[in-house]
Amino acid sequence: MSTLRVKEPTADNRGETVSIDVNGTTVKGLTSESISVTLYANGIKFFDRSKKLYRPRGFFSLHPQARTVMINVNGMLATNPSEIYLTEGLKVHIQQKRPLSMHFFESMIDTSLLHKPIVKNRLIWPLALRFIANSINNPEPAEYETPHSIPTIVEKADLVVVGGGVAGLSAAIEARKYGLETLLIDDVELGGEMLCDELEPPGMSEPGCVFARNLRKKALELGVRVLSKTTLVGFFEDAVLAFSPHPLGSGTPYIISAKAYVVATGAVDLPCIFANNDLPGIIDASSALRMLSIHGVVPGKNVAVLGATERGLRLVEHLKKYAVNTIVLDKSKNGAGKGDIVRGVKEIIAIGKDKVEALKIKRDGEELKLNVDCIICAASTNPDIKISAQAGAKITYIKELGFVPIHDLFMRTLKSNLFVAGGASGSPYGILHVIEGRIAGLSAAISLNKTDAEAERDALVKEYRSLLQKFGISDPKEKMFRYFETKVVPDEKITEPPTLFCSGPRRNAFVCFCEDIRLWDLYRSVSVYGFTCLEKVKRSTGIGTARCQGRLCLVNSALYIAYITGLSPNVVGIARQRPLAISIPINVLAAMGVNKA
C-alpha cells in the first residue's frame, strides 16, 4: 500500500506507533493522529457509503464539526473518524460493497421522489415508503454503557474565548494583561491554522508556526486557562454548554459561565461544487495543510488546487516543498500568481470509481484531462458563524467577507458583551487576526470595567485600520462598521459563486454530503417550487439539517440561490443557527446534573 507520509510529524506529542485493523489488514499509525489521518496516509480514502445514494465517501474536512462521514470502529457504526485518535488494536470496518438492491432502486431513494406523489396508490405507497426508509444507509445507535454519573464541570471566568487560533490566543493574552480571568476553549489544537504554516504569512517576519507556538506559550505563561479538544456546543437560555468528546462514545460536559465572550472560531473552507465533488480524495485546504504540517502526510502525489486565491497559492508553495506535483485551477481569465495555473475554467468533472483518479476540465473551446489523486478546495472561505449567530450576533452578507457577524472597529457585535475576532469576523490574514484578537480582548476588558485603557485601544484601532488598508480589505470592513451603526441590512448582489465549477444544475454535483443533496435539488426547489428564501429551501430539500448542521452547505446554498434568482444573499438569508454545534450522546446528557451557575 502506498504511503503518503513524507516526514516525521511535528505534532508536539508525536505519540507512539500503533497498529489498527482495517478490513482485516494491519495499518500502522501514530497515537497523535485521528483515524482519518492514518487511513489517508495509508492511501485509504474511502470510509463509508453515503446515506441515500450509497456513493463512496471519505472525509472532506478534518474539523470535528464537519461530520460528513461516519465510520465503523470497533463495531460502532456512527463514529466520526476525525474525532477518534488511534489506540492499539482498533478495528475499522469499511463497507465497500453497495447493496445489490440499490442498483435497481436507486431512483426510489432519490430525494426527488419525496416531492412527487408518483405512488398515489394507498396500498402500495406505505410499502414503498417502508422500503425507502429501510434503504437509507443509516447506522444503528451505538450501544455502550457509561458510568451513570459523569461529572459536569462548571467553569467560571470573566471572559471566555471560543477558538484557540492566533485571534483567540491574542484576545486571551490581552484580556489576561488587564487581569481578566480568561478561559480559552479550543476544539482542535491550540495555535489554529497558523500552527501549520511553515512559511512567513503576509506581513509577518517569521514562519507562522513559530509565531503561533510563541503565542501559545505566552498565553499559557500568562495564566490563560485552556480547555482543549473541547467544543462550545451551544448558548442555551439557561446555560452555556461545552463538550469534550472522549474516544468511542462518552465525553465530558462543561457548563460555562462568563461575563463576556470572544468568538474566534475561524473560517470554514467551502466545498467547491462540480461533478462528482463528493468522491473521496477531495478535501479542503485547511485539512491538506494540517495533514502536511502537523502529521507529515501529503494530500497526494498529483494535486489539483481549486482557486488561485492567496490561500490556494500558499498551499501550493507548501506542497512544492515536498515535491508534490500541483496544478491550480481558477475561474477567472486573468489574475496574479505564477506557476502552473489553468485559468478560465468553466467546468470540472472529477473521475474515479471510489476515489479521485482524474479530472476533466472544460474551458473556452477546449477540454483537458489531468491525472490527479487529490483535489483541494481553496476557492473561498466563510466565517464560521455557528457560535456567534447562536450567541445572538446579527449576520449579514458582504461580498468580500461572506456571511459575517456584524461588528464594529472595537470588534463588538450587536449583542452586548459578545465580541468576534479573526477568521470568524471575515478577515483573511493572520496578521489581522492577531490585532483583531487584541482589540477584542481589550474591548472585553473595557466593557467589564477592568480598565479604561481607551487610549491603548485607539492606538490599536489605528494600526488595525492601516493594516486593513494595506491588505486591501478596508472597503468591505468599513462598510460593515457602518452597518453596525445604521443596523440597515445591505443589499449585495453576487455574480457567480466562487465555489461553483459547474455549468448547470447537475445531479452529481453535491452541495450537502450528509444527506446527498445535489445542485439539482436546490435548483428544483427554486425554479419549480419558487422558493427563494433559504429557510424554505432548507425545509423542502433538507439541506443543512443533517450531521454537519449546515457547516459546509448553507453558505454555498445561499450563494447559489442568490446567483440563480438574482436576489441579494441578504434576502435569501442564512438559516437560523440552533444548538448544538456538535452532537452529544444521550447517555452523557442524561448523566449531567444541571448546575446553573
Binding site: A546, P579, M592
Partner: protein
C-alpha cells in the same frame, strides 16, 4: 368578497386552499416572516384520532381522512405512515381512564389495543418495560411530513389564485361600523371584507387589539432531534410516567420532547439545557437502545393553549362582522388543520356551521360548554 388570512401555517393555508376551491377570489395570505414560519414547521408532524373528548376524536377522525389523501389533493407527497401511537401507562388510574375512553373510541370505530408489558417487549424490544403496567396502542394514528403538508397546501392554493405576502406583519385588524374593513401592516393597509386570524400563538395579540378576550395563551415547547439511525421506531411512544415522548422520522432522526414547566407567553424561541437534560434522562431510562444516540439539534415553538385545550374556530356573532379565527389548538393544530380549513371555508362563504365544527365555536367559553381535552402530548 375580499378575504385576508393572517398567518401562513397549516390553518391559514388549508383555509386559503379550501376557500379558493369553493370559488372565492381575492384571497391574500399575510405572513409576518416566511411561509409557515410559526408552529407548523416546528411541529412533531404526527396525527392521531384518540382524544379524551368525543368532539375532538370525531373531528380528528375526519381530519385524518383528509390528511391521508393530501398527496392526491395537493400534489405533494406528504409521506403518510400509520405507525400508531403507544401510550405507556404507569398507574391503575391511567389504565382505568384509558379503558373508559376506549369504550367511546370503540363506538367511533377507532378502538385501540391494550398491551401487556410482555406484549410491548415483544413488539418493541427497545422499550424498558419493567415498571410499565400496561400500554395502549392506537394503530390508527401516524405521521406525515409537516413541511410538505404546508408547502403542498400553499402550492395548491396558489394555483387557485390565492396570494401569499411574506414579511408582512399584520399589526391590527381595522373595524368600522362593527364590520372589518381590512388589516394594517407597516407597509400599508390591506382592505378586506373577511379577516381570518390563523396566526397561532400570535393571534391573542390581534384579538386583544379588538378588545376581544378569549382564554388562550401561548406556551413555549421545546423539541430535540438526534442524528439519523436505522428506521426502527414505528409508533410515537408517549411515556405517561415522565410525559416524555419520542418518535422517529422516516429519514431516521429520532425526535421527542418532554413537558417542562415554563411561564406562558411569547418567550423567545430559544432552548434550555434544563429541557434537554430532562428529556435525555427520560429517554435513557425508557429506551436503553438509544443511550448511544447522539442529540444533534433542538428547537422550540409555541402551543397556542386554550382554556379547555381544544381548538377554537369560527366566529362569535357579537364580534365585528367578517372576523373569523382558527387557533388555540393546544398542540394538535397540525393534525386538525386540514379539516379546520375545510369547514371554515364553508362557514365563511355560506354561513354553514358543520355539526363537527359547532362545539369548537369561540362562543363556547361564555356559554360554559367547554370541551375539556386532557390528552395533550408534550
Amino acid at each position: 368578497m375580499r378575504i385576508a388570512i393572517v398567518g401562513s401555517g397549516i390553518m391559514g393555508l388549508s383555509s386559503a386552499y379550501n376557500l379558493a376551491k369553493l370559488g372565492a377570489k381575492n384571497i391574500v395570505i399575510l405572513e409576518k416572516e416566511y411561509l409557515s414560519y410559526g408552529s407548523t414547521v416546528r411541529s412533531a408532524s404526527r396525527f392521531r384520532v384518540h382524544f379524551w373528548t368525543e368532539e375532538n376524536s370525531r373531528f380528528a377522525l375526519e381530519a385524518k381522512k383528509i390528511m391521508v389523501s393530501l398527496s392526491s389533493i395537493t400534489g405533494w407527497n406528504v409521506l403518510v405512515t400509520t405507525g400508531g401511537y403507544l401510550w405507556l401507562l404507569f398507574s391503575e388510574e391511567q389504565i382505568k381512564a384509558f379503558r373508559e375512553k376506549n369504550k367511546m373510541w370503540e363506538r367511533l370505530g377507532i378502538a385501540g389495543k391494550f398491551l401487556s408489558p410482555s406484549e410491548i417487549k415483544e413488539r418493541y424490544p427497545y422499550i424498558h418495560t419493567d415498571d410499565v403496567l400496561e400500554g395502549f396502542f392506537g394503530p390508527q394514528n401516524g405521521s406525515c411530513f409537516h413541511n410538505y403538508v404546508a408547502f403542498g397546501y400553499y402550492k395548491a392554493a396558489a394555483r387557485l389564485g390565492a396570494k401569499l405576502f411574506e414579511r408582512s406583519p399584520v399589526e391590527r385588524v381595522l373595524v368600522e361600523n362593527n364590520k372589518v374593513v381590512g388589516v394594517e401592516l407597516p407597509q400599508g393597509k390591506v382592505e378586506a371584507d373577511v379577516v381570518l386570524l390563523t396566526a397561532g400563538a400570535w393571534t391573542d395579540d390581534l384579538l386583544k387589539g379588538l378588545g376581544i378576550m378569549l382564554p388562550t395563551e401561548p406556551e413555549r415547547k421545546e423539541m430535540a432531534l438526534t442524528e439519523s439511525y436505522k428506521y426502527f421506531i414505528e409508533p410515537l411512544i408517549i411515556d405517561l410516567g415522565t410525559s416524555a415522548y419520542i418518535g422517529q422520522a422516516l429519514k431516521g432522526e429520532i425526535l421527542g420532547s418532554i413537558e417542562v414547566p415554563v411561564k406562558s407567553g411569547l418567550l423567545p424561541l430559544e432552548n434550555t439545557l434544563d429541557f434537554l437534560v430532562k428529556w435525555a434522562r427520560a429517554v435513557y431510562k425508557r429506551f436503553p437502545a438509544l443511550r448511544g444516540a447522539r442529540v444533534m439539534r433542538c428547537w422550540s415553538g409555541y402551543y397556542s393553549m386554550s382554556a379547555d385545550s381544544s381548538h377554537i374556530m369560527g366566529r362569535d356573532p357579537e364580534w365585528p362582522e367578517g372576523l373569523y379565527v382558527a387557533y388555540g389548538d393546544s398542540g394538535h393544530g397540525f393534525m386538525m388543520g386540514p379539516l379546520i380549513g375545510k369547514l371554515l371555508a364553508k362557514n365563511i362563504l355560506y354561513g354553514e356551521i358543520d355539526e363537527l365544527m359547532r362545539p369548537f365555536l369561540p362562543t363556547r367559553f361564555k356559554e360554559g360548554k367547554l370541551i375539556p381535552e386532557k390528552l395533550v402530548i408534550g
